[in-house]
């Protein structure tokens, strides 16, 4: 008596249930979602990303930002009351994310709407360079390695970070210039705004 074939069939079928139900379903039903054209305003939501933002996403992924920062505003929770965003997020909000960094922990604050925190790129750069000088008590590590410290020769760089304090502030005659990675990351963070309406989403608060 060889039960192997029927056992293998069962093993395949039980697995296929969730494979079809979760994976194929998501692939078909969510994967075909298109940006929503708001006929009244002519807006396309979620809005297209600025060019550097896509590179910024890769920097976000490469440095494991998702280990600490979630990007989801939950329904039926205090997330909206906690001002994490004007409404809970829905699947279509992540249409242009690659990868969709929803995250599972809030070791740091949620970044679903990081672009609404501040529209000042310099603030984000200072924060990435030395977090505690911007947010005292923060437990975020420094991302100094995304910045170049170099001697000012001739004209100072227009990109150089201004007003740095703390132990890693540049010496006089030196400047801190963001690398392309840092610039892309900040463009991406600034682009994180889920403050538009979608038909399937709850209304904005």
């Amino acid at each position: 008596m060889n039960r192997l074939p029927s056992l293998i069939t069962g093993i395949v079928l039980t697995f296929a249930a969730s494979w079809i139900g979760v994976v194929a379903y998501s692939y078909v039903e969510l994967g075909r979602l298109a940006p929503h054209l708001d006929e009244a305003s002519g807006d396309v939501n979620p809005p297209p990303l600025p060019g550097l933002a896509e590179a910024g996403m890769r920097v976000y992924a490469a440095n494991g930002c998702v280990s600490c920062h979630s990007q989801q505003v939950r329904s039926d929770s205090n997330d909206v009351a906690n001002k994490l965003g004007p409404r809970p997020t829905v699947a279509r909000d992540y249409l242009r994310e690659q990868p969709a960094a929803l995250g599972s922990l809030r070791i740091g604050p949620d970044l679903t709407n990081a672009g609404l925190l501040s529209s000042d790129a310099a603030w984000f750069h200072r924060h990435l360079y030395e977090p505690t000088t911007v947010t005292p008590g923060s437990n975020m590590p420094s991302f100094r390695y995304l910045y170049n410290i170099r001697k000012i020769s001739g004209q100072p760089s227009a990109l150089a970070l201004q007003g740095l304090t703390g132990p890693h502030a540049p010496q006089p005659g030196y400047e801190v210039v963001p690398t392309e990675d840092a610039q892309a990351l900040v463009v991406y963070l600034l682009s994180l705004k889920r403050n538009y309406t979608l038909p399937e989403a709850e209304p904005l608060q």
């Binding site: 039903e29 969510l30 708001d38 006929e39 009244a40 305003s41 002519g42 807006d43 329904s75 039926d76 809970p88 829905v90 699947a91 309406t197 038909p199 399937e200 989403a201 709850e202 209304p203 904005l204």
Partner: protein
């Protein structure tokens, strides 16, 4: 029941080297005597019931566009929360920026001698002889020739927007214009715009001040009562 408890006291090295059979015979299934307690079955049923019930009550009708089951009506017409009606002030501002601000300026103050202001304008606020119907007609078909706004003379042409903007967009931009920069006037509804559009569907040319002045003023609130023989208020398209 061929279940003889193992007499073997294994020495580890013994197991490796000896040909002593392993004790797997004892893991052959045992029968009847080990049926599980019926209470356990009851507990399993209860767990299954809780699980299935949770899924049933929180399924959101198994629809892909329902994200918060507690916000779904049980009629199965599930969209996550009521589809948010767009705020006319937000939409209107967008339309204004895209279509109107070139001439009337973002400030709504226009350009002296060329484009009349909207701030405080009797045309916008439906004062004197001006009615809500006039301003809608202007947006739909445009305006040309000499006009008087707040005592100042202008002679220019405004483009018709009726073929570009939809009823709800026109309603939104007018509502916006009438409630910004200190202006205050009742909102224009898209039904009202639709009604005017229907009434004037044969009109091709821009209006002139003289023509408009000859038309009786109508306000939004009175629109339904106003005798509009041919115009059964059409349901607004695209909503």
């Amino acid at each position: 029941m061929t279940n003889d408890p193992s007499p073997h006291n294994r020495e580890e090295a013994d197991l490796v080297e000896s040909h002593e059979p392993l004790l797997l015979e004892s893991s052959a299934p045992t029968t009847g005597s080990e049926t599980l307690s019926p209470w356990l079955m009851v507990a399993f049923l209860a767990i299954a019931f809780v699980g299935a019930g949770y899924l049933f009550w929180n399924s959101g009708g198994f629809q892909a566009n329902v994200f918060n089951p507690s916000r779904v009506a049980w009629d199965g017409a599930g969209t996550g929360g009521a589809a948010a009606a767009p705020d006319p002030m937000v939409v209107g501002k967008k339309v204004f920026t895209q279509s109107c601000a070139v001439c009337h300026q973002t400030s709504g103050l226009g350009v002296a001698g060329q484009f009349p202001p909207l701030v405080g304008s009797e045309w916008v606020l439906s004062q004197d002889w001006h009615g809500d119907n006039h301003i809608v007609k202007i947006v739909l078909n445009g305006l040309q020739g000499p006009v008087t706004v707040m005592g100042a003379q202008y002679n220019n042409a405004m483009a018709p927007w009726g073929s570009v903007l939809k009823d709800d967009q026109i309603a939104a931009v007018l509502t916006y214009v009438r409630n910004t920069w200190g202006n205050q006037a009742p909102p224009i509804t898209k039904e009202f715009v639709a009604q005017i559009r229907e009434e004037t569907k044969d009109r091709k040319d821009p209006w002139t001040q003289k023509e408009l002045q000859a038309i009786e003023r109508v306000l939004v609130g009175e629109a339904g009562a106003a005798p509009a023989p041919a115009a059964a208020p059409a349901p607004a398209p695209g909503t």
